[in-house]
Amino acid sequence: MAENSLAFKGTPAQEEQLLAVIAKNKELPGALLPVLHEAQEIYGYLPLEVQQMVADGLGISLSEVYGVATFYSRFSLTPKGKHKISVCLGTACYVKGADKILAEVENKLGIKSGECTPDGLFSIDSCRCVGACGLAPVMMIDEEVYGKLTPKEIGAILDKYIAEEGGEQA
């Protein structure tokens, strides 16, 4: 995972946004979680630099921020791909073969769950239930949900995103 991390590239605009979020929540009891949620929205992940800013802003120690950021699976300390793939491994999906879907995605992209492709286009994660159990097995790419999947369909779905990228570069 660490191999994929890039140097921190925060912009002054992002920092301004984060400081505003901290100022808004500073007096809120239990502010750390809401602030981290918004910080991740702003930066896409929570690198140490951002955690330090949050710690300074809320007047708590970095270790406390780090402890919380690493406790919850939704917070990520490494950057994610441009397209975030999330394969549901909830029970309903699992009994319908979600493990085979994940294996196929990993196979097609040549990376493991939790990693990001070298070109930064895709990252794979597994998640526990998006609540679309009626469509099991399910995978999400960004906000789009793909349901009732079979391993055979994975290639074509990924190709769609790769083709889009090609279009942008052209």
Binding site: G30, T91, A92
Partner: protein, 630 residues
């Protein structure tokens, strides 16, 4: 907001909503009193949105405009109807006909043929609503809905969750009004106690008792909290209630606040549920605008407000003390009890915490009375329970049944049986904390005590149906992998115990198990049940214990015969090509990542077991069903 204003809003919206609720014969007549000739309800919940309901809604609105019907036909985006596997779902009133798996193309036809010309498009209807003789029955008459009784889900799929006036039209906030103006806090608590309502999050603790304790604890500041951190993978009833009827949760929390003397409520909801969060935010905003949250509600001097806090993906935060620790901004680790939350909860103040589904029953209980509610269900388990039916079952979706309904009724009648002619093997309830109900107990009535008696538990309501293709050892391993991931690490019995249990299961599924391992598991499980700090660790062994109890022969087959009877555990199976069925198309050989398959074109192929990595790619690619596992 005064009673008069509430009544005025209710009356003004009543007819539009009644068109969706009355019996068939009266709906037509009611529609003529409204501004709309017909109403189209489309599910905008997570399930149907995932199936593309947004595109369908856009197509519908565009088509209605093009055909000049947009003024006479009302489009309502509702919450979940329950039949998620058939989404996107669309119902047209006053006829009450039910279109399933709607597409933008299909909608075009429905607009022209049905909405404009008045001819129902029969071939697009849900097949169970069309009788062999061609007559159309309404949804409530289908097998899926016939045995259901909707109390917690009463408004889901009926009202527009983003319009508080529709909630008011279905007696919304009358429960709160009744509590505030004609009942003392003690009377409210007594009503909840008498109803027999028990916690729907899985624990089953009597809700009224919780409230009584919190009221009895002295203190100026108290809190009401709602557990919407639905962590059981495979359960989605809380999400559906928040998406389909968010106002009822706000009303219930205000009632709880009045009962215990709290003025502030927190809803702790999973960040993975964006639609639920958005609808709840809108609902809170609207309730504030209408004076149903805020200062001096109904002029009674009672103040109450609600705030949303997002979870961040930690299963343990569904445990009450961990949830509160998380709201306080910390790692969501549980605290020892006592002190119980009713004495020292959120921010160290007395707190009542209930689950979403529990709250969903409250406004109804207060409005209609405990006598009505307690007449439903069984002796120790009053009312109804919502289940998220999933896995190997025909009708996947949300069902709400009176307590005491048997598993057989749920599977065979409501669920429509097991697909592909397979045999029912077990139902898993209670997720990672629960156990399974095997086929021999299919006539068990579903209530708290009967399920405990057979070594399972009600849980929050996930019900996963397993068929003969499921390996019970593998399922137990699946749940243990989950609890190992989600154990917070604070106490040793859970942190180490779950890992150790998983190691045993791993060993068994790889064919290295020993019979003594079964005894070791048993002993370790008992220690974990007794000494773990919270319910996560105390219940983590349940999936193993119940599968070991009911499917011991499968464990023994893995250990002694080194075989997986269901053909799931990779180390114990091998892939083979049936020569008679193989056409020699070479597809499998070309796709095999291990180059383990050989054979000439148009000749039967062979798998080299020593090279095979058992990934199953060949089986997925074979068009002739020639590849089998043994």
């Amino acid at each position: 907001m005064t009673f008069e204003e509430l009544t005025r809003i209710k009356e003004a919206n009543k007819e539009v909503v009644l068109v969706r609720k009355l019996v068939k014969e009266k709906r037509e007549e009611m529609a003529s009193h409204t501004a709309y000739r017909k109403q189209v309800l489309i599910c905008g919940g997570t399930g149907c949105t995932s199936s593309g309901s947004k595109k369908v809604i856009d197509a519908l609105e565009k088509s209605l405009k093009e055909n000049g019907l947009d003024k006479e036909i009302l489009v309502v985006r509702t919450g979940c109807f329950g039949l998620c596997s058939l989404g996107p779902i669309m119902i047209v009133y006053p006829e009450g006909v039910f279109y399933s798996q709607a597409t933008p193309e299909g909608v075009e036809r429905i607009v022209k043929e049905h909405l404009r010309d008045g001819n129902v498009v029969k071939d697009l209807l849900y097949k169970d609503t069309v009788q062999p003789d061609g007559t159309i029955i309404s949804l409530s008459e289908t097998n899926f809905y016939k045995k259901q009784m909707r109390i917690a889900l009463r408004n889901c799929g009926v009202i527009d969750p983003e319009n508080i006036e529709e909630y008011i039209a279905v007696h919304g906030y009358l429960g709160l009004y009744k509590a505030l103006t004609s009942m003392t806090p003690d009377e409210v608590i007594k009503e909840v106690l008498d109803s027999g309502l028990r916690g729907r999050g899985g624990g089953g603790f009597p809700t009224g008792r919780k409230w009584m304790f919190a009221k009895a604890t002295p203190g100026d500041i108290k809190y009401v909290a709602c557990n919407a951190d639905e962590g059981d993978p495979g359960a989605f009833m809380d999400r559906s209630i928040l998406e389909g009827d968010p106002q009822c949760i706000i009303e219930a929390m205000a009632i709880a606040g009045y009962a215990i003397g709290a003025h502030k409520g927190f809803v702790y909801v999973r960040a993975e549920y964006p639609i639920a969060v958005q609808r709840l935010s809108i609902a809170i905003e609207q309730a504030r605008q209408y004076g149903l949250l805020g200062k001096n509600i109904f002029g009674t001097g009672f103040d109450f407000d609600v705030e949303i806090r997002l979870g961040a993906g930690a299963f343990v935060c569904g445990e009450e003390t961990a949830l509160m620790t998380s709201i306080e901004g910390n790692r969501g680790e549980p605290r020892p009890r006592p002190p119980f939350p009713a004495v020292k909860g959120l921010f160290e103040k007395p707190t009542v915490l209930n689950n979403v589904e529990t709250y969903a029953n409250i406004p109804r209980i207060i409005y209609k009375g405990s006598e009505w509610y307690s007449s439903i269900g069984t002796e120790g388990s009053r009312g109804t329970k919502v289940f998220a039916l999933g896995g190997k079952i025909t009708n996947v979706g949300l069902v709400e049944i009176p307590m005491g309904t048997t598993l057989r009724e749920i599977i065979e009648e409501i669920g429509g049986g097991i697909p592909n002619g397979k045999k029912f093997k077990a139902a898993q309830t209670g997720g990672p904390s629960g156990g399974c109900i095997p086929a021999e107990h299919i006539d068990t009535p579903i209530d708290y005590d009967s399920l405990l008696a057979i070594g399972s538990m009600m849980g929050s309501g996930g019900m996963i149906i397993l068929d003969e293709d499921t390996c019970m050892v593998d399922i137990a391993k699946f749940y243990l992998e989950f609890t190992v991931d989600e154990s917070c690490g604070k106490c040793t019995p859970c942190r180490v115990g779950t890992r150790k249990l998983l190691q045993y299961l791993d060993k068994i599924t790889k064919g290295n198990g020993e019979m003594e391992d079964l005894e070791r598991i048993d002993e370790l499980a008992k220690h974990m049940q007794k000494s773990s700090l919270c319910a996560l660790g105390q219940t983590a062994p349940n999936p193993i214990l119940s599968t070991m109890k009911f499917f011991r022969d499968e464990y023994i087959a893995h250990i002694q015969d080194k075989s997986c009877p269901a053909g799931v555990c990779k180390s114990l199976i091998r892939y083979e090509i049936v020569a008679d069925k193989c056409k020699g198309c070479t597809l499998c050989a070309r796709n095999c990542p291990a180059k383990a398959i050989t054979g000439a074109v148009k000749q039967p192929h062979v798998i080299d077991a020593s090279k095979c990595i058992k990934c199953g790619v060949c089986m997925n690619n074979c068009k002739f069903g020639a590849i089998i596992t043994k």
